[in-house]
């Protein structure tokens, strides 16, 4: 893999495991994807699918007492992150790769003003004077469209509303011009109208700064409206990857299809009053990740599954147009009605 490729981040065969009382949990089990410069990549899946652990692995934030990256490689601008020293990693985090989390209140320090927190990050990574860093904090708050930014610099996180805190988190994350921004459920804790504002803001800033975004969410609506390419994860594995239009036009993995049919839709034409179509359920439960799964992880819940699905893990098949899917029965899935 060469540095000259357009990819800023290349993840190959990532495996992250946790030791629990019930055995080793294979939270991420061989996930690969690329992130191009300035691109918005979505990672979608239900809870426990390993999407957040993937993000934490990239930043090497897996708690060492219980978890570890057991295999694979993560290359950021050609540099291997899995073996990078902790000091070098610290220089990277918050500077060249930033992250924002679901609950901004827990990721902001409650006893420091927001201006101080942003300025500290700037001083640490850019080595500028405190005064310049303060000025940078003001610019950042202004950039994320916080009204009256000069005054807000001296406020504490609890004085801000939820939406405003998430704006501060974005300002903090972008304060050192990162090449990659990882956003883990950034709008899940927010109200609908505030979610729309934050998503719009993230996209607008991406255009302005050229930062590539990895957007992790369980919400297919958020994925559809903000990302360019999507990775669908299930039980620690990547089951499908496609440009966003292709994925929603023709999902190829039975799991992706199941997900799409399970959500109540707001955008379908109005039905006659009183008529409530049944939602399609995905039968069964997510498999336990403490047991090795020999075949396809979705096979026990899948209507298309055959003996082969249960015995051998399906390879990623290229379905054309950058659409890849890990399914043995993809031809039959494609032939069936959506």
């Amino acid at each position: 893999m060469s540095v000259t490729s357009g990819n800023i981040l290349e993840v190959r065969g990532l495996q992250t495991q946790f030791n629990t009382l019930d055995g080793v949990v294979r939270a991420v089990d061989g996930v690969s994807f690329d992130l191009a410069r300035g691109e918005t990549l979505g990672i979608v899946g239900e809870s426990g699918c390993g999407k957040s652990v993937t993000a934490l692995s990239i930043l090497r934030l897996i708690p060492p007492e219980t978890g570890r990256i057991a295999g694979g490689s993560i290359k950021f601008e050609g540099e291997e992150l899995t073996t990078l020293g902790e000091e070098a990693m610290k220089g990277l985090r918050g500077h060249r790769i930033s992250m924002i989390f679901q609950e901004p209140m827990t990721s902001l320090n409650p006893v420091l003003t927001v201006g101080t927190q942003i300025a500290e990050n700037v001083v640490r990574h850019m080595g500028v004077s405190w005064r310049a860093a303060r000025e940078r904090s003001f610019e950042m708050l202004d950039l994320v469209r916080i009204a009256d930014a000069r005054r807000r610099l001296d406020e504490y996180p609890h004085q801000l509303s939820g939406g405003m805190r998430q704006r501060v988190m974005i300002a903090l994350a972008l304060s050192c011009d990162p090449q990659v921004l990882i956003a883990d459920e950034p709008t899940t804790a927010l109200d609908v109208t505030i979610q729309a504002q934050i998503l719009d803001l993230m996209l607008e800033l991406k255009e302005k700064t050229g930062t590539a975004i990895v957007l992790i969410t369980h919400d297919l609506g958020v994925i559809a409206e903000t990302t360019e390419r999507v990775v669908v994860m299930y039980a620690g594995r990547k089951v499908e990857e496609a440009p966003v239009e292709a994925l929603f036009a023709e999902p190829l993995h039975p799991y992706t299809r199941g997900l799409m049919r399970a959500i109540p839709r707001l955008d379908i034409e109005a039905d006659a009053a009183g008529m409530r179509p049944r939602l399609q359920e995905i039968p069964g439960l997510v498999p336990r990740l403490t047991q090795p799964i020999p075949g396809c992880a979705f096979a026990p819940r899948c209507g298309f599954a055959t003996e082969r699905c249960r015995a051998e893990p399906p390879p990623l098949v290229d379905a054309g147009g950058g659409h890849t899917v890990a399914c043995w029965e993809v031809d039959r899935v494609r032939a069936s009605a959506l």
Binding site: L21, D22, E46, S47, G48, Q102, E185, R288
Partner: protein
């Protein structure tokens, strides 16, 4: 994340003594030590090889030897036998105080936490009681009445109760705001059943932990009171009394103080270890699965 996983539902694990011990070393250590001491206290007449009250001036202040394992005191009484009997007093005081103050504290704490109208009055009374030092209270009580084990126990219980009440009240307040309480009320559960079935069982864990600390502190206070002469009558072999009587001869017969002192320290340690272990085990925030 706020989203709930379906794969978290795990089959119940089979109980195994070996893994239980491995996971809770402090509980095991404290419990084993405490059980051993309780056995010693119960079987004191069989363990002590001589009469702890028998005065033999000929054998005064003998150092530990094959005949007097822990030596003798200034009256020639066998320190080993007295120490073994002393365990009875200490453990009896500790356990009685823990039991009574827990029961009282639990009742008052439940009332205060659940019925807000009683809360203000009872809690102010509790604040007042907490301001009384138990040593002074005990001395006052004993000067008014005859010294005895009962008075000592009462004197220790009175200032310990408010400590339990506070803990139970705080726990009840947090339980009361839990959705399962609202769910039970909506399901038609009446006050008495709500308290007994939904509030009480969930308040027990912190109570047990707190009562172990009360037990340990009661044993220390009893020893302190006996040492000051305000505790159990001087002829009763409590560890505090043994130490108090050996004090004047400390330089020539240090065993009369060191041995009961060590026993007292070990007992308190065992109870506290048990309490700490239980706290870690019973607090869901500390006892996470991972």
């Amino acid at each position: 994340m706020a989203v709930i996983t379906d794969d978290l539902a795990l089959p119940p694990r089979r109980f195994s003594l070996a893994t239980a011990i491995r996971r809770n070393p402090t509980i095991t250590f404290g419990a084993v030590l405490l059980t051993a001491l309780i056995v010693v206290a119960i079987f004191a007449p069989y363990i002590a090889y001589s009469d702890p009250f028998k005065i033999a001036p000929v054998n005064r202040l003998r150092p530990p030897s094959e005949r007097w394992w822990f030596g003798t005191d200034q009256f020639g009484r066998d320190v080993f036998s007295r120490t073994v009997y002393g365990a009875r007093v200490s453990l009896f005081v500790g356990l009685t105080v823990a039991a009574f103050s827990s029961l009282l504290g639990l009742a008052l704490g439940l009332l205060c936490g659940y019925f807000r109208r009683v809360d203000g009055i009872v809690m102010r009374v509790m604040d007042g009681l907490m301001a009384i030092p138990s040593i002074l209270l005990a001395i006052a009580l004993i000067t008014l009445t005859r010294p005895g084990l009962g008075i000592v126990i009462v004197a220790i219980i009175i200032p310990e109760v408010p400590r339990i009440v506070r803990v139970v009240r705080a726990v009840v307040l947090s339980i009361r705001s839990q959705p399962y309480i609202e769910s039970a009320i909506a399901g038609g559960t009446k006050n008495a059943k709500l308290l007994m079935r939904h509030v009480l069982p969930n308040a027990l864990a912190p109570l047990i932990v707190q009562s172990t600390y009360v037990c340990a502190s009661a044993m220390l206070i009893e020893a302190g009171l006996s040492f000051l002469g305000a505790g159990v009558p001087p002829e009763v072999p409590s560890w505090g009394n043994i130490i108090a009587q050996g004090r004047t001869f400390f330089q020539i017969a240090p065993w009369t103080i060191l041995i009961p002192g060590t026993f007292l320290a070990i007992t308190v340690l065992a109870v506290n270890l048990l309490g700490d272990g239980l706290r870690d085990r019973l607090d869901p925030r500390l006892a996470r699965r991972l």
